[in-house]
Symmetry: C2
Subunit: 355 residues, 2 copies
């Protein structure tokens, strides 16, 4: 029984009774099992030769005491840290959690463990988080985007560990980049829209000067239209709130202002889905009267009344490959000298973009 009030000061005993304050060390296990600390360490890490008998004794003692190794000390002594820093802008739309999941899964088969840091899309925060993470001396770094402050780039270069920049390949990576070309993605979508015969094209996106990937997509998009002698007829931006609701709102607004629009390109699937729902309620004939397309390939789209045209950003592949590169370089089994791995986002026409 534990006296609840004194919880802060008195730990529970763990099998045998132990000193309340101090946490267990190798020494405790070594004393309990009658062998040296080194032997205990060897047993617990499965390293070197230890006889069956000793191994059993040690494991038993460790378990009985409830010993948990101290990786801080271990890492300091061995100069090996099985952590991979993952630095991403946010968790608030599914894109980064998806990438994270893929990284987690890929690393699961290794000793490595991901640790996340969030930047909120600001370079300053990114620099700060990076510094923080590097101070834990991780085995590798995965971070979103190719745009960083000079200081951040310097830190990355000096870190001496594998660095993988993900999501984007339009630029110069510090070390290795894995992603898609957002410029190309924008261009491909523009081409498809032009080819389908749409002429009055609107763009709806987020008000994020620092979302470089969205910006590059937009640049590629306008570039693609320009090749066909077209330009964006109108545009609207939003920030914050429920993306689905914002999609409705923006769509209504842009069509009120520019009623002859015949295509809407959304910077993400969520607002695209909002627009889709809104237009269908208005009785608009999609894709004949107005065509629609989003970006990302979120699996939410599968359940929509009409499948929104989109472009898969290869998020899972990106996560998987990035993690794999870190894992292999850490293990010393990495072969390639490629510094840019460009995946090809494939356009999905769905049912909202004429072919």
């Amino acid at each position: 029984m534990v006296d609840v009030l004194s919880w802060e000061h008195s730990k529970l005993t763990n099998g045998t009774s132990t000193n309340p304050k101090r946490s267990l060390t190798l020494r405790d296990v070594s004393e309990a099992s009658g062998v040296s600390e080194m032997t205990v360490s060897r047993v617990l890490r499965n390293r070197g030769d230890v006889s069956q008998g000793t191994r059993k004794k040690v494991l038993e003692a460790a378990k009985r005491l409830g010993y948990v190794p101290n990786k801080i000390a271990g890492a300091l002594a061995s100069k090996r840290v099985n952590l991979v820093a993952v630095i991403i802008p946010s968790m608030s739309n599914m894109v980064f959690p998806t990438v994270m999941s893929a990284i987690s899964e890929e690393l699961e088969e290794t000793e490595l463990q991901p640790v996340v840091g969030l930047t909120n899309y600001t370079p300053e925060q990114e620099e700060k988080v990076l510094y923080e993470m590097l101070s834990w001396r991780p085995s590798g770094i995965i971070l979103a985007g190719l745009e960083h402050t000079d200081a951040a780039r310097a830190m990355l270069r000096n870190s001496g560990i594998p660095v993988v920049e993900i999501m984007d390949v339009d630029g110069e990576p510090v070390d290795t980049a894995v992603g898609i070309s957002h410029r190309r993605a924008g261009r491909i979508m523009a081409d498809a829209i032009v080819k389908a015969g749409y002429k009055r094209i609107g763009f709806l996106g987020t008000k994020m000067p620092l979302d470089h990937r969205a910006r590059k997509r937009f640049e590629g998009f306008t570039g693609g239209l320009a090749k066909a002698g077209l330009e964006v007829a109108d545009q609207e931006f939003y920030s914050g709130g429920s993306a689905l609701a914002k999609g409705r709102e923006l769509t209504q607004k842009i069509l009120e202002r520019t009623p002859d629009i015949d295509f809407l390109y959304y910077s993400n699937d969520m607002i695209g889905a909002g627009g889709l729902l809104h237009l269908r309620e208005q009785g608009v004939d999609i894709p004949n009267q107005i065509g629609l397309a989003g970006f990302n390939g979120v699996d939410l789209l599968e359940g929509l009344p009409q499948r929104l045209a989109t472009m898969d950003a290869c998020r899972r592949d990106i996560g998987r490959i990035a993690a794999k590169i870190i894992a292999e370089r850490t293990a010393g089994t990495y072969e390639s000298t490629e510094t840019k791995i460009e995946l090809s986002p494939k356009i999905e026409f769905g049912e909202t973009l004429k072919r």
Copy 2:
């Protein structure tokens, strides 16, 4: 210029030229600035008195060299680790990323930093991840749910650090719990449905024997119905895939089998939204012919054609409060002796549940 091929072996110089292999230590900065390591340490941590002149010299040298402190060594020496372990089942629906965001934000004002581990809803994986995390000697632990293996509970108790179990309060916390009562949530929803006059009630959920919160909601729900002499008319379960699409599928299936159903309770908003879209397409009059309700209060619902009835799970509040408890207990400013903090999920009738 860097020779790309020899990248692995030759690090960039950092301002002055440095030894390629070894990473910088306090000693390097101390030598570069002509003071002792201790003084450098003091400057870099803003601790103790250091004269203006020395401070400037040191900061300059540190910056010039590109020194990044080694927290591994720092943590070992000071026995303080500014990490908070957060252990959650998954990142693949928005609920846990949301909680994570809230935790991150709350901790941003402190020295503490969250580190995530994923359990995939299995107790074994949870135990493993917990062990892994504890070996970094974090300042606190936040983990989802009250159900853990015996070993995990023992580790938590023995850890000697603040432990906050989140999301659920139906059970006995190891230390402190912050969440809602899912049993109560299920009951409240049942009451509202009964009160609205629905009689033939179906349940649609996930096939997850280990999602204890979903199970408790279901128990509370059937209990609530029982009080009114009702029971669940039919049920369907799914696993994997796009929740929105699954919601459609399940809804269709259950109605084919049990056509006289007049209410559908979904275990989450996503499948609820799928059901909603499906039924509207079928021309079903919601909420008169069939009523609907989900669970979670995701902000996606705002953009739906009809606002789905739901119950807010207080995810952001839970994250915020949990983080705050850890932060205050770490700082020693925590007062309360409460071991269960129960938040009240509020029912939102939306437009799919008669009042």
